[in-house]
Assembly symmetry: C2
Homo-oligomer: 103 residues x 2
């Protein structure tokens, strides 16, 4: 009927970044690498359990990297991969839409 | 710490359009008004029950309009409101990202 051959990619992208908190996590990491504790201070309503889950999912998807600095004490930071940084235009457009339409 | 005063709008936009099938439904309706049956033929994996639910949610959110044509037999079509059509740039950017990064 119509050309929807790109559906599977589109749909799986939506499933990935459409999960609760995921968009917000990506947006926070677009501002630079963060430690787990920093993220819980910025995204105040998310539980540590859920934040851990989401970060693992994003790591598996190749969107977030977990970097361990061998200092004393060990420092662990989360940052976006190139794949993750490439989501900026998507989030920008969504922000524009939300500013215009969401009350 | 950082300027995240737009979080609530952004987050609620994500919650709304991030639900399974919702992005795809909006994308299909961007191509023009559709009857329920048309949509089930294009989005082949969605059940009628879930499609009905999603359309109701989108109607409540003011993104989709349900238009009843008083013909015999009655014709019912779903189309996007201005708010819904404004999602085009978001979906376009997401498509670009998916084409580049989703295998």
């Amino acid at each position: 009927m119509e050309d929807f051959h790109l559906c599977p990619k589109f749909e799986s992208a939506f499933e990935l970044i459409g999960k609760r908190w995921t968009g917000l996590i990506i947006r926070v990491l677009l501002n630079g690498p963060k430690r787990f504790k920093d993220m819980t201070e910025i995204i105040t309503n998310v539980s540590s359990k859920v934040l851990t889950e989401r970060l693992k999912e994003l790591e598996t998807a190749g969107i977030v990297s977990r970097v361990v600095y061998p200092e004393m004490p060990v420092r662990i930071e989360y940052c976006l991969s190139e794949k993750g940084k490439d989501l900026l235009p998507v989030l920008d457009e969504l922000q524009k839409w939300a500013d215009k339409w969401v009350e």
